[in-house]
Amino acid sequence: MSEAQPSRETTYFQAIFEAHQEEMLRDERVVMIGEDISLYTKSGILDGALSDRIFSAPISENGFCGMGVGAAMTGLRPVVDLTIASFIYLAMDQIVNQAAKIRYMTGGQATIPVVFRASMWHDGSNAAHHSDRPYPLLMNSPGLKVVVPATAADVKGLIKSAIRDDDPVVIFEDNSLWFRSGPVPEGEHLTPIGVATVRRPGDDVTLVAIGSVQQDALDAAEILAKEGTSVEVIDPRTLTPLDKPTILDSVERTGRLVIVDPAHRTCGAAAEIAAIAAEEAFHALKAPIARVTTPDVPIPFSPSLEEPLYPRKDAIVEAVRKLK
């Protein structure tokens, strides 16, 4: 985001809908498909004139995700709203077997400009059927692009870029960020897919923070700064394709890497980033690579069980302190 451009405080939630509204008004081929979405125009969240292109669907996730793919192959640019991320398992077939592979299987004949959106719900006692962060599953599925916007500006900019992208993009939003505000540049604002951002520069430790944990990471960095440890906080923003240079350049400078990822630990995004660093920046490393993640348990209902599971400021501080 350019410093010069004027910006406006916007919530993450508002930013999501600004992106949709702008793109739907800009391009008639953009349609929305998903459950209960007719309420967006009815409630005034989206311009009523768009209601013709809003397909409020039956509860048929695999069916309507595949419908989005078919429509994308033949001239539309559908945004398919899966609402809660845990519902993506129902549509894995059409997303992984079809959306991700059709272009390849057809030798490039097909172009699939479809966007799948899923909001990750958590930390609100929604229990195991509504609280997953399944992006690692899609990172293991070639043919998809995967983004995890963590600020109002990024969610707006990445949704808009995703809609304009000619490949299937899966956007993992985060409901814990809905009511957080941040500056969003006025006018046309696009965040490029595949480009990380440095949220705080630093010299001693590289802290890669994925999605909703940005604030915890920044808070941890602040605490550590007071102890004399300078932490660089990187938000990859896109997980596929991952901006390896930004991460590796930082690790080469700091020699220390901690990855904070609110998804389940095993085979997660944190594992991938750790593996890349252990392979490609090994000689710079001065300490073990630490992962701070949600442990491998289904997400429980009770707040007294759920809350302690997630990576927070204190756990991050502790992980960094241990590296020394």
Binding site: L39, P58, I59, S125, A127, A128, H129, V297, F301, S304
Partner: protein, 329 residues
């Protein structure tokens, strides 16, 4: 076989219990004692209690995301249910499941699913084991009108039909899936008609009349127990409150007139009035039932409040049945 008078009273009591429990749940939620959000069964009690009344104790039930009523109708203790909703250690699922997962194996409620349509394959499998083990048990599977659009509905009914599994699929059609009118997403007027696609009986019943539901379900249960296979039953009902309490729903999508019209068809009023008019319960009986019930609900709330929150370390238990080395942490 029509219900005997004592059974009719017991049916009324179940309906009342669900109603008063749900009213209390709403209060506890507003008081901040229940975390998250809850899908209440108020308005659906006729379908729920009427359906469960057709079951034997050993029979199974599979519920949905809107499923506080199903374990109650199947005979669960109210205390552990309320404790579960409050996320307490003595909850029926030790605080791990919450509102959308009030499973109680002790009364045969085998699972409830926060995933819409997720319960149908499970119920089908419960039918398979009943058949293979020749247990004589049957499974009553509740699901919503919204769930009938999921692929799992189609796959399950076909599977149950080809192997004649003892499962009764009971749709609580409350005319909406969240904010979406069923008629805007359903290609047929009545879900029951889809039974024809599986060669099984399909019946529509007034879900507000618990006794009517009972008799239709009882017929399907008999059929299932005789080994003649599954049935599809559609109970037309209505939820009197919002889709969920504790969630923000930014629009109104039902008109007042429709809500009022349905509230006049309250399953509790309908049965109470009928039993009263037939002289099966007196005003006095009613008062007594209400006051007994009030005590049970209060006791359940007290039980729940007295139960501690689970220890954070409990989050790491119950993932697997046996201790598991390495790997997860």
């Amino acid at each position: 076989m029509p219900l005997r008078p004592s059974e009719r009273i017991s049916l009324l009591r179940d309906i009342m219990t669900i109603r008063r429990f749900e009213e209390s749940v709403k209060k506890q939620l507003q008081a901040g004692l229940i975390p998250g959000s809850v899908h209440l069964s108020i308005g659906h009690e006729g379908a729920i209690a009427g359906g469960c009344a057709a079951l034997d104790d050993g029979d199974f039930v599979v519920g949905t995301h809107r499923s506080h009523g199903h374990p109650i109708a199947k005979g669960s203790d109210l205390g552990p249910l309320m404790a579960e909703l409050m996320g307490r250690a003595d909850g029926v699922c030790k605080g791990k499941g919450g509102s959308m997962h009030l499973t109680d194996h002790s009364v045969g409620v085998m699972g409830e699913s926060g995933i819409v349509g997720g319960g149908l394959p499970l119920a089908t499998g419960i039918g398979l084991s009943a058949k293979v083990l020749e247990s004589g048990r049957i499974c009553l599977c509740f699901f919503g009108d919204g769930a009938s659009s999921e692929g799992s509905f189609h796959e399950s009914l076909n599977l149950a039909a080809i192997w004649k599994l003892p499962v009764v699929y009971l749709c609580e059609n409350n005319l909406y899936g969240a904010t979406t009118p069923a008629d805007s997403v359903l290609s047929v007027e009545d879900i029951a008609i889809r039974a024809g696609g599986y060669g099984i009986p399909g019946e529509i019943v007034d879900g507000q009349d618990a006794e009517a539901v009972h008799s239709v379900v009882a017929r399907a249960v008999d059929r299932a127990r005789r080994g003649e296979g599954p049935s599809l039953i559609e109970a037309k009902t209505y939820r009197f409150g919002e889709h969920a309490e504790g969630l923000i729903i930014p629009v109104s999508y039902r008109d007042e007139e429709e809500v009022d019209r349905w509230k006049k068809r309250d399953p509790l009023d309908i049965l109470r009035t009928r039993l009263f008019e037939e002289g099966i319960v007196s005003e006095e009986d009613m008062t007594q039932m209400e006051s007994e019930l009030q005590q049970r609900i209060e006791a359940a709330v007290a039980f729940a409040k007295a139960s501690p929150m689970p220890e954070p370390s409990a989050a790491f238990e119950d993932v697997y049945s046996n201790p598991i080395a390495g790997g997860s942490r």
